[in-house]
Amino acid sequence: MARKISMRQAINEALEQEMTRDASVFIMGEDIAGGAGGNGDQDAWGGPMGVTKGLIGKFPGRVLDTPLSESAFIGAAVGAAACGMRPVAELMFLDFMGVCFDQIFNQAAKFKYMFGGHAQTPVVIRGMVGAGFRAAAQHSQMLTPLFTHIPGLKVICPSNAYDAKGLLIQSIRDNDPVIFCEHKNLYGIEADVPVESYTIPFGEANVLRDGKHCTIVSYGLTVGRSMEAAETLAKTGVECEVIDLRTLSPLDWDTVMDSVENTGRLVCVDEANPRCSIASDISARVAQDCFKALKGPIQMVTAPHSPVPFSPVLEDLYVPSAQQIAAAVKKTMAN
């Protein structure tokens, strides 16, 4: 049975259901219960955004508040995964990856390969990404391209509550390390989400809208803006196919390329900085493999190549807008 819940609740429910189903699943992170060692509420925070609220009461001993030691606890999650557990470690803001990146890209991502296929590392590292929260340069980045660059990591970025639950359950059941990127500005947005557990397979993009004139590819927060642009353009007779990538590694190249074969035009929308981004990656591959199908120049709509600014005025200009996306479609259509 489905009912409307927020992406925050959907993630909480995915964690709860998987912890119920599988005793090897546990969660850890700074303040994910909150109140550890104090005399007050032991579930004081449930994570800085309340995503894990209520879980410690249901799973005492399996919701671990960690010290402020990302290297140690992310590494411990990786180590526990290599020893048969299924840890879900919250890195709070994925910007903090800097201090523990080694444990992720040199350890977790490489065990299976370095060890000749004999290791599996079912760890999920989840945390917040994205701008729009007035959290400035070190708490707002969309670092997805950094993760997709690393073979061995699976990289997920849901755009809505339904996908978030199914993809997180899939992430926990998956035997490889997964970086699960949660856009902080989507936490409060509701969608129809089944009460039951379900999974969404990795490497399956979601085509949200059919269209014959132009393909718009996006993920995360900018999926909504891409849809908004497509609806506006539809009123002028321009029909866009909107693709939500959902999983960035693996990436559903077939769906992207089939669509471009049909439309002949491509706009890549990416909240990351433009250099070596998801947008540039897709543009390059499509230019290489679908060159003959292209009727106009590929357009990229990304954040500017700057850190995320603090000033609300500037930050609002930072994330790709529906207007920018529509303008990019018009630009490629003009050719």
């Binding site: 090897s24 546990f26 671990l64 960690t66 010290p67 030691s69 290297s71 140690a72 606890f73 992310i74 590494g75 411990a76 999650a77 990786v78 180590g79 526990a80 995964a81 290599a82 020893c83 048969g84 557990m85 840890p87 080694d102 444990q103 040199n106 350890q107 991502a109 490489k110 065990f111 299976k112 390969y113 370095m114 060890f115 000749g116 296929g117 004999h118 290791a119 073979p151 061995g152 990591l153 699976k154 490889d176 390390p177 590694s249 693996p250």
Partner: protein, 335 residues
């Protein structure tokens, strides 16, 4: 085998009875033979990459590992051959791995710095200094969740003991009371830089105290000292007594890696090591002098080990190399 077993035919001189003394000797000889043959072969130019030899340090790895079972985990270092062998990993598979052959433990994809055998609880040598400590915390956490009495041991050199990951792990293990043991293998140098220059405290016991952990320093050249100290610490951890730090003061007999001219050493330093600080020689003399084991018995083991490593080398040299088809297997995401 455990430290409590002290009924010995040697009149209570040794903490192990004769069969176990022979096991210890065999393990140390196996390591030494393996490393010395590598030293010779490396000079011929047939072995690719970095090779860091454990020769001279055998007493430490062996004295500790004799307390472990397959479900106890170790996180090793770049100088990992000795840890592997002492943990029971097969020398043929190791040798083939070091030669980069398809028959290697990791199918030739890991090499000397990444040899792993998870079935033996060996979670991998590690090319990143200090990276093993968080992983060991994770392994210890997994053992604690399972309640199987398992322990995890993190090996770290004196140089790597300055890494944040290591220090964070001491704290994490302490606050979670993990069955984790941090072994500092202090061979006096990090590459060419001396421990006395790079480590601010004189004693690792003090460093452990700073994190609320018990610390013990032993003469790492003395197999029996290591064996007894490790036995107590491991037993305590198994019984829920929590983590500890064990410093083994030791020497390395060869360069940091093969090809190192070692000009940073004082004149005569290496001769002194060979003549007076060879841990295997020291062990042999003691057991022979005590009349527990005869020289002939040890020489028989020496011959056995030479034959074993001969066979390992022949296996490695005659094994096929991996092919292009292996290049992108065993990785979670195919581009």
């Amino acid at each position: 085998m455990n430290a409590a077993k002290k009924s010995t035919p040697g009149g209570g001189i040794f903490p192990l009875d004769k069969p176990d003394l022979l096991v210890a000797y065999r393990t140390m000889r196996r390591i030494r033979e393996f490393e010395e043959r590598l030293h010779g072969e490396f000079a011929k130019g047939d072995i690719p990459g970095f090779v860091h030899l454990y020769a001279g340090e055998e007493a430490a790895g062996t004295g500790i590992m004799m307390h472990l079972k397959d479900n106890d985990r170790i996180a090793s270092t770049h100088r990992g051959h000795g840890h592997c062998i002492a943990k029971g990993v097969d020398t043929k598979g190791m040798m083939a791995e070091i030669y980069g052959k398809a028959t290697g433990l990791c199918k030739g994809k890991g090499g000397s710095m990444h040899i792993a055998d998870l079935s033996k609880g060996m979670m991998g040598a590690n090319g990143i200094l200090g990276a093993g400590a968080p992983l060991a915390c994770g392994a210890a956490l997994a053992a604690k969740f399972r309640g199987d009495g398992g322990v995890a041991i993190s090996f770290v050199g004196d140089g790597a003991s300055n890494q944040g990951t290591f220090l964070e792990s001491l704290n994490l293990a302490a606050i979670w009371n993990l069955p984790a043991i941090f072994v500092v293998e202090n061979n006096g140098y990090a590459e060419s830089t001396s421990r006395d220059y790079a480590v601010a405290v004189d004693s690792y016991v003090d460093r452990a105290a700073g994190f609320g952990l018990p610390g013990v320093t032993v003469d790492g050249l003395d197999f029996f000292a290591v064996y007894e100290a490790a036995g107590e610490i491991i037993k305590r951890a198994r019984e829920g007594g929590g983590p500890a730090l064990l410093e083994c003061k030791m020497v390395r007999m060869y360069g940091h890696f093969e090809g190192d001219q070692q000009t940073y050493r004082a004149p005569g330093e290496l001769d002194d090591i060979r003549d007076n600080k060879d841990c295997i020689k020291m062990f042999s003399e003691r057991v022979i002098e005590a009349g527990v084991v005869s020289r002939a018995e040890l020489e028989a083991i020496d011959r056995e080990m030479t034959a074993e490593i001969d066979a390992a080398l022949a296996f490695a040299k005659s094994s096929p190399s991996p092919t292009l088809a292996d290049l992108s297997t065993d990785v979670y995401v195919a581009y």
